[in-house]
């Protein structure tokens, strides 16, 4: 174990090297470079540092400029004080939220608890809500977001790199990944693309997302955005790269596969079978959302041989008196649902409940009675609308909502055949996408048999391997014994 260097400059360099030079590593040097206080800015409050350390030490130094540990220690509280003689231990203390004091000429350091009290309490996630799991979402402050991750991954291999993007805004961007797990090629690609960005200002991480996407014209999200810190932690542990943008409450995870967009952190918090159950219904729900209106029109308009005769006849009976043709009717309902969806977003909270009930129930009833739509069409479009929210990712839900219209047209023109070819074209569109060199349909395509465990089924937590999907350089989830492992 490396010992603690005697010189202050060496100490700074050494501690920086041990922690892989994170951006939030800070130093204070009261006493003209003799005393060095190292701390991680994301953990530490500047004010506390000033009042509890810098001020008393400064006063002490005025009295006794030639101080040693015996004179220095009494100034600072004894509680939580730990003596360290190796660089490793000192660095680990930093990761635990301690500040480390070094005195030039001494091979010892002392660690003090300098944990910061969170300034702004994180709120519960708005979009990605879950029943189980932490109820916090990311904040708009980059340091606090880094802290949320650091609190869960206290590992030296967690690399935190920063750049500033935006010629006028100079927005802070942090790139987080596990150095010994994430594929260096993917990390290099992330940096290459971030460095390529030419823009005057960044208002939200959405800007970055689009600028680093593999294919700007893709209908599917080729990066994953999330507001949940636990998702970020899981992604980092899988060997993926997290990009946090200052003043944005959603972070970006790359690379991403379409499979990933159907996974909620909740799947892993519930016992195995519940996780599997949830996931199956989520995938089913999204499939319904895309195909149901198209299937409805294909089955009733073009190929009526498939549906049960009684159902077909009941539908035919229900449509008697409806003036609109089937295609127009379903398109009309889809438009109405989309407008409702957009409108209800802007509705002020106090009236949204009332108006929701009025529009949903009364309007639906009235529309059927007025002969504008038939009741089965109403059922189909409402089911499709609700099902499009069954996936945990909002962006891919948007993609499906657009593609649904394509499938309605394909179904109306070519029936079940059109639906098949239309579906295959959509699948092909997904198949030509890459996300940072990773196939978007992975692990289904190219087929990675081991990776299939975490698709419809859920990866059992006892499985100690990382899957090849994100090409991690370390496939073992547990660090090797004796290596640079857990602090």
């Amino acid at each position: 174990m490396p010992s603690i260097p005697l010189l202050a400059a060496e100490f700074k360099q050494s501690i920086g090297a041990t922690l892989n030079n994170p951006i939030d590593l800070g130093f204070e040097a009261p006493g003209v470079g003799k005393i060095t206080i190292a701390f991680l800015a994301s953990f530490t409050n500047k004010n506390d540092m000033q009042t509890h350390f810098l001020a008393p030490i400064g006063r002490l130094l005025q009295e006794k400029p030639d101080c040693n540990w015996e004179t220095l220690l009494p100034v600072i509280s004894q509680e939580g004080r730990i003596e360290r003689e190796s660089m490793e231990d000192a660095a680990d203390d930093l990761l635990n939220g301690f500040a480390v004091i070094h005195l030039e000429g001494s091979a010892r350091t002392y660690s003090f608890d300098a944990h910061q009290i969170v300034k702004q309490p994180p709120s519960a996630p708005l979009v990605e809500r879950t029943i189980r799991g932490p109820k916090i979402s990311l904040l708009e402050d980059i340091n606090q977001n880094i802290l949320m991750i650091r609190k869960q991954i206290r590992n030296r291999e967690l690399k935190v790199e920063g750049i500033r993007i935006g010629s006028r805004s100079q927005t802070k961007i942090a790139v987080l990944y596990l150095q010994d797990v994430a594929n260096p090629q993917i990390v290099a690609e992330v940096h290459r693309r971030l460095n390529r960005i030419e823009i005057d200002g960044i208002a939200d991480s959405g800007y970055i997302e689009q600028m680093i996407s593999d294919n700007h014209w893709a209908l599917f999200p080729l990066t994953q955005s999330t507001e949940r810190p636990d998702k970020l932690v899981a992604a980092i542990l899988e060997g993926r790269v997290v990009i946090i943008v200052d003043s944005s409450s959603s972070a970006i995870i790359v690379p991403v596969t379409v499979n990933e967009l159907y996974q909620s952190p909740e799947d892993y918090y519930f016992p195995f079978w519940f996780g599997v159950f949830l996931r199956i219904f989520r995938i089913l729900g999204n499939n319904i959302a895309v195909t149901l209106p198209g299937l409805y029109i294909a089955m009733l308009g073009v190929n009526p041989a498939l549906l049960p005769i009684k159902f077909t006849l009941a539908t035919a009976g229900g449509r008697i008196g409806v003036a609109l043709p089937l295609v127009v009717e379903i398109l009309f309902m889809e438009f109405v649902v989309e407008i409702f969806r957009e409108g209800s977003l802007r509705l002020p909270t106090p009236v949204s409940q009332t108006l929701g009930v009025a529009s949903g129930i009364i309007l639906g009833y009235a529309a059927v009675n007025a002969g504008i739509v038939s009741n089965i069409t109403l059922i189909v479009s409402i089911i499709a609308a609700i099902a499009s929210y069954s996936g945990p990712n909002y962006e891919i839900g948007l993609s499906w909502r657009i593609l649904r219209f394509g499938l309605i047209m394909a179904g109306a023109t070519f029936g079940l055949y059109g639906l098949t070819i239309g579906g295959l074209i959509i699948l092909a569109h997904a198949a030509i996408q890459n996300s940072f060199g990773v196939s978007y349909l992975s692990p289904w395509a190219p087929l990675l048999p081991m990776g299939l465990i975490d698709t419809v089924f859920r990866r059992p937590l006892w499985l100690k391997r990382r899957f090849q999907i994100y090409q991690p350089i370390d496939q073992n989830r547990l660090p090797k014994k004796g290596g640079r492992g857990n602090p």
Binding site: V302, I432, L447
Partner: protein
Amino acid sequence: MKDARTPELLSPVISPVNFFALLLVILLGLDFLDFPYEAAKTCGPNGYWPLLAAFCLAALPLILLLVLMRRRFPNQNLTEAAPQVLGKPLGLAGNLMFLGCFVLWLILAIKDSSELVVAYFLNRTPVWAVSAFFLIGVGYVAVNGLAPALRLAAFVLIPTVLFRFTMQIFALQGLKSAYLLPLFARPPLDYLTGGAFMANVFLPITAIFLILPLVKKNPGNGRASELAIPALSAAFIAALSFLLGILGAIGSFGAELTPRFAWSEFATIQQINIPFLVLEQVGLIFLVIWITMFFVAVSFYFSVVARSLGRQFPGFNYRWTVAVLVLLVLVGTLLFPDAITAHAMFTLFRRWLMLPVFVYPWIVYLVALLRGVKGKFEG
């Protein structure tokens, strides 16, 4: 090669598992649902023996040749090796014949499948619209390189194969085992004839010659088993499905009625009657699954043919080759006046004209063996 833009998409590395997926999907996708015709026509109730003969006559030699070719030309595919082996003009002519057969085959296949779709799904829709819609989709996959077709194949593999087998097993519900007996009703030569006529069901394996150097686990690790095991298992599973198709068709219709159906394998599926299923007919769902596999297989063919064709002539752009090929095939399908001609030609073509496609790779290999030509190694 002008398209240096998307090297990963045009020349992806195909791992053994993905190779298996690809081969299985193209074998099952290109079976055209009418091979019990040949089986029942040549061998009556014993339609299953010619399948065995076809497996031995076509599938096994082709897989053997795959392994031999890879050993001799580890970094070249068939069309690249041929000019080196046979001389430039002869190699070019051979390659064009080989690829031309595929193009002709695609034309007939798409015509046949469009007729199938028009018969069962869309009565009034003109065939050109069906073919054009299909080719738009295929072109979109193929224009983006080889990888999308491979990925699609891997993606659809599990659901489609599972569903196909389930349906085929359900189709056995009307099976009368007496229709399949006695076990040896025909002279042995009939089985060989039937096998030769049915050999085309294993023909899609020949397309692998065009992408042979891409099939590997890691670069530089080229053991024969990496190629042979996936190829054999894919061919075996496909043969199992074909066997179910033949048993279902001859077992439920008898050897006299089976050849009367245009798509006898599908006619068997169409018979399925599951009273408690929500759907009245499951046959059309089977057709959806088959179209999915067919789409992927055709996309793959377009992609490999265009890729090899582009490399024959310097200056050919891959994307443009695909576009021209799509137009060519579309025009080709429109040239047939009626379904009867197309169907008869398709049957005849698959029986006889596919011989060159089987023989050409063997000629290239044997001449290479005699002249001692070997492929270049890495670099």
